[in-house]
């Protein structure tokens, strides 16, 4: 599946990933241009998080090749390439009970760039706190923030290192509508400034107008293309294997899948 621009940020060619003997992803190929916005969707166990980990070099594919920012990803350059990417894992992966202030978590994003002894200045936050509207949360323990605020802090952590590619795993999960809107606005702003975005989600509806490319996974690629190409009942039924309805309100498509919105 072709890139939609001239310069590639990411290309996967026939990537297969297995845990032990169990294949989690099979023969995945796609490419994404620099500054592109890819939405990865699919049911539970479809291999969405595995895909992100493989792109980050945390998992090695059994076969196939991955090119990140023009370089073929391998064991030797994985750590260096990771420093050019920002990763926002699922919120529940973090130890949220640790007594740590919001800004200390954001500053963790600088660590790969600075070796001790080092001095971190609050000014180093740049405009990341404003972008995610968490500047007023300075001095607050992370554990006291709402789920949406915590998610925004984790996104800020991934952004302070000024990544060229931003990968987000379920950033809307457990997030209030206000935080969801702020995150979406921030992602749009990043995209405008040339950041490549790869976002894994269950809820594709908010991304209909935002993402350039949709990749539907179910262990392998079921569909990949623009919203108008893949946002239809036939494709979604192949992905989710459930009752799917796609309807349009105010000119925007929405999908309802089974008991929940896709």
């Amino acid at each position: 599946m072709p890139a939609t621009g001239s310069e590639e940020a990411l290309r996967l060619e026939g990537v297969t990933v297995a845990y032990g003997g169990v294949v989690a992803l099979e023969d995945v190929s796609f490419s994404l241009h620099k500054g592109g916005f890819l939405c990865v969707a699919g049911p539970n166990g479809a291999g969405k998080t595995t895909l992100l980990r493989t792109i980050l070099g945390l998992l090695r594919p059994r076969s196939g090749e991955i090119y990140v920012l023009g370089e073929k990803l391998d064991r030797r350059n994985a750590a260096r390439l990771r420093r050019r990417m920002g990763y926002v894992p699922q919120l529940d992966r973090a130890e949220r009970d640790i007594p740590v202030l919001m800004e200390d978590i954001v500053l963790m994003g600088y660590l790969p760039q600075l070796r001790p002894p080092r001095t971190l200045r609050k000014a180093d936050f740049g405009n990341v706190l404003e972008l995610l509207r968490i500047d007023e949360l300075k001095g607050k323990p992370f554990s006291q923030l709402s789920g949406g605020q915590q998610q925004r802090v984790l996104i800020a952590r991934a952004l302070v290192g000024d990544p060229e590619i931003l990968l987000l795993d379920e950033p809307f999960s457990g997030v209030d509508p206000l935080s969801q809107r702020i995150i979406l606005e921030a992602l749009c702003s990043l995209k405008e400034n040339g950041t490549t975005i790869i976002l894994v989600t269950h809820d594709i509806n908010p991304l209909f107008r935002v993402a350039d490319l949709f990749l539907f996974l179910k262990g392998r690629v079921v569909a990949c293309g623009g919203a108008d190409d893949v946002f239809n009942e036939e494709t979604l039924r192949r992905v989710y294997g459930a009752n799917v309805r796609v309807f349009t309100t105010d000119g925007e498509k929405h999908a309802a899948i089974g008991d929940y919105h896709a």
């Binding site: 750590a79 740590v100 323990p141």
Partner: protein
């Protein structure tokens, strides 16, 4: 009170208490936050095998303890290199029993040296030698300087191991490094409180501080304060009252933890 420290053995004991408190309390912050409590118990018991070996070949028992403690750290580190404390616990449990069994074996072989074993099983802070002190000072310095330099890296892998790895931090290296520092801290404390009670030094100070702190840095400082308070007061009480110093230190420390549970949380 100052009279107690006019004696040479008490001055050495005071220094040992300070080295133990600072190193154990510093690293205990991460032991508690990462749920590595069993690592402390495992290292201490595995060290018994090293103590036996050292007595057998005639070197300072702390060096033998250090060897086995480091071996356990590496074995446990390998088992948990992807950040899983559960997988580590299994490896620690096996090594724990292996070291303990070796220790028992050497005790049965070397009955005439049994007093050296008992000093390290229950602790004998009043009998630390100059060589012990030098070893303890060196190990405690390594622990404190390392945590000061790599505090943010340790905090990062504690908060979210996978995200730290994904950001380009060498999280696996810091994971091993932290376990080595835990092993060093255990060895520093062995002579003071012994194999059986060192576990308290690695958990209670930070566990009490956790209840009262808003930040990890505050927790670390409070943890050191609690450990220093209990070890020095235990030492002073045991000078005037004929009671085991190691037991007093741990009882005071445990009491601080129980009180901290009752204090309304500031978090």
């Amino acid at each position: 009170m100052l009279e107690a420290f006019s004696y040479d053995f008490m001055q050495r004991a005071l220094l040992a208490a300070v080295f133990m408190s600072v190193s154990c309390a510093t690293i205990s912050t991460f032991v508690v936050l990462r749920g590595l409590s069993f690592m402390g118990a495992g290292v201490a018991h595995a060290a018994l095998g090293g103590i036996g070996l050292a007595v057998f070949i005639g070197i300072n028992p702390l060096l033998g303890a250090l060897l086995f403690a480091l071996l356990l750290a590496l074995v446990a580190g390998y088992a948990g290199r992807k950040g899983s404390a559960k997988r580590m616990d299994v490896a620690i449990g096996v090594f724990f029993a292996f070291g303990m069994a070796l220790g028992v074996l050497f005790i049965s072989l070397l009955e005439e040296y049994a007093v050296q074993f008992w000093a390290l099983i229950f602790g004998d802070i009043l009998a630390v030698s100059d060589l012990d002190l030098m070893l303890m000072a060196a190990m405690a310095s390594i622990v404190v300087i390392s945590v000061a330099l790599f505090f943010r890296e340790f905090l990062s892998i504690t908060f979210d191991f996978e995200a730290a790895l994904a950001s380009g931090i060498n999280a696996t290296f810091y994971h091993y490094f932290m376990l080595v520092l835990i092993a060093l801290s255990v060895v520093v404390a062995l002579k003071c409180v012994g194999v059986l009670l060192v576990f308290a030094m690695l958990t209670a100070p930070a566990a009490a501080a956790y209840e009262l702190s808003k930040t990890v840095r505050g927790m670390l400082l409070l943890s050191v304060a609690f450990a220093l308070t209990s070890s020095i007061s235990g030492l002073i009480i045991s000078f005037y009252v004929p009671l085991a110093t190691s037991a007093l230190i741990v009882i005071i420390l445990s009491s601080i933890f129980f009180v901290s549970l009752a204090v309304p949380s500031r978090k």
